[in-house]
């Protein structure tokens, strides 16, 4: 089992790598976790993680600046059906477009767009920053054994924009912040989480172990 974490000049790569390494070790996987900007490594990987910290447009530009990476991702993930996990902006990039500051095209693998959060309660601050629980809309292997709901475990969020898919069925879980905010999207072999599993202690490590074990 090999896991490729895409290095496109954005994101907390080391944190993502360390959390994936630990999840792999605990899950008994011996394969390599590699942080890479090499499209060939991505083409050969069994699983792919796209992290992301930053502005949508900047992340998109960063991805495009790695020669051959977009094509390799299309080949491995979109056409090849390799399990894919997007984290934070890496999840938002699944969308057709983002509206952070400027309108930017995403990868377009899941229809919809990334919009600013607008909590119904005006006293709620944006960014939505801190620990919140997950409201799950349908069962999924990613969340196997993870306590969710108001009394469940917490995930660490830090974002001002969220993914609004065209098809509500693509939303796997929401979190409550003056109304539902998209927390996880899932379609086929794709999953994307708005929060940071690599920073979400027990919940995050459980989720990463589940991603490694997932056979969509």
């Amino acid at each position: 089992m090999s896991l490729a974490i895409i290095d496109y000049g954005s994101g907390n790569l080391r944190s993502a790598a360390k959390a994936c390494e630990r999840a792999a070790r605990e899950g008994g996987y011996t394969g390599a976790v590699s942080v890479t900007n090499d499209p060939e490594v991505v083409r050969r990987a069994d699983r792919i993680v796209l992290p992301g910290v930053g502005a949508f447009a900047d992340c998109r530009a960063g991805l495009d600046a790695v020669p051959g990476m977009h094509a390799a991702l299309d080949e491995a993930v979109s056409a090849g059906g390799r399990p894919f996990l997007g984290i934070c902006v890496g999840m938002q990039l699944l969308a057709a477009r983002g509206r952070e500051k400027v309108v930017t095209d995403g990868l377009g693998w899941i229809g919809g767009e990334v919009r600013m959060i607008e909590p119904a309660d005006p006293t709620l601050k944006v960014p939505h920053m801190g620990w919140n629980t997950l409201d799950v809309r349908r069962p999924h292997a990613l969340l196997a054994g993870v306590p969710t709901g108001e009394d469940g475990l917490h995930a660490y969020f830090v974002h001002s924009y969220h993914f609004v898919p065209d098809d509500p069925a693509d939303v796997l879980a929401t979190t409550d912040y003056g109304g539902p905010v998209t927390a996880i999207v899932a379609r086929g072999t794709l999953v994307g989480v708005q929060f940071h599993p690599e920073k979400s202690q027990t919940l995050g490590l459980s989720l990463l172990r589940n991603f490694l074990a997932w056979r969509p």
Binding site: G54, A55, G130, W131, H159, T202
Partner: protein
């Protein structure tokens, strides 16, 4: 529901914790990575490293600390101190920091906040505001930004400065009362509240925590969404769990997940 955050803060100089920490079961109280792992296992919601290293050469030491912490701790880490350029920020993020806290550089040149936010996203940019009350006891309260550990006045009004940096892209403000820092008599609540009510982004209250009630006040009366403290945790006066239980009992929503982590990564 979003929970209030409890954030222990470690002052780091040349790669070592200064002021010291005094936990049970810690082999080396001066090692920031061990302290970070202890807080991670204790259920801290976030960790703040404040690099007070005077020399630029020791920056590599800090990056090493952040790297080793990221390998052990699966909670968000904010690093502040001496950050002046986007290259500084990138290096810290690559080492494993999640957010950076900008202080003097934002005071010297506010446009830096905008450049940093455009590059790394607002959510990554914390502006740290050190403020001192400058109005007399019978005047309307007014606070000014100070630098150099509270010794140097800047003439900048703290509220206008806060509004400015948020407009430019700060995603969070760390508001420290220089009058209260180290006093253990509680946050400057009027300051915290004035800024929190003025800006649209989360505010972390800092400076003056001596009791668990002070933490409650910071959220309830100061309208902060997070509270930062150092000595009450470092010296074992209170644990993170005690702080959270106390705040929850006062009606504040708190995260109290069971932790499977004990800094046990190989």
């Amino acid at each position: 529901m979003l929970k209030a955050r409890v954030i222990p803060c470690l002052d780091v100089k040349d790669g070592r914790v200064v002021k010291g920490v005094n936990f049970v079961d810690l082999r080396d109280a001066g090692d920031p990575v061990e302290a970070a792992a202890a807080y991670d296992a204790a259920g801290a919601d976030e960790l703040c490293f404040l690099d007070i290293t005077a020399s630029h050469e020791a920056r590599g030491t800090l990056l090493d600390v952040v790297e080793r912490t990221a390998a052990l701790c699966f909670m968000p880490v904010t690093v502040g101190g001496g950050i002046r350029t986007n290259d500084d920020i990138r290096a810290l993020l690559l080492a494993g920091a999640d957010k950076v806290s900008i202080n003097s550089a934002a005071v010297a040149d506010r446009s830096f906040v905008g450049r940093a936010a455009d590059k790394f996203g607002n959510q990554c940019i914390v502006v740290s505001i050190d403020a001192k009350r400058v109005s007399g006891p019978h005047e309307a309260p007014r606070w000014e930004i100070f630098t150099h550990g509270g010794r140097k006045a800047t003439g900048l009004d703290a509220l206008s400065f806060a509004a400015d940096v948020v407009r430019l892209g700060a995603g969070e403000l760390l508001v420290t009362s220089m009058d209260r820092d180290g006093t253990k008599i509680g946050f400057d609540l009027p300051l915290t509240r004035a800024i929190a009510d003025r800006v649209s982004v989360p505010v972390i209250a800092s400076g003056g925590v001596g009791t668990l009630d002070h933490l409650v006040e910071g959220i309830r009366d100061g309208h902060a969404t997070a509270v930062l403290a150092a000595s009450i945790f470092h010296f074992g006066t209170h644990t993170i769990a005690e702080a959270k239980a106390h705040m929850a009992a006062a009606g504040i929503p708190m995260r109290r997940d069971p932790s499977e982590l004990s800094g046990a990564a190989a």
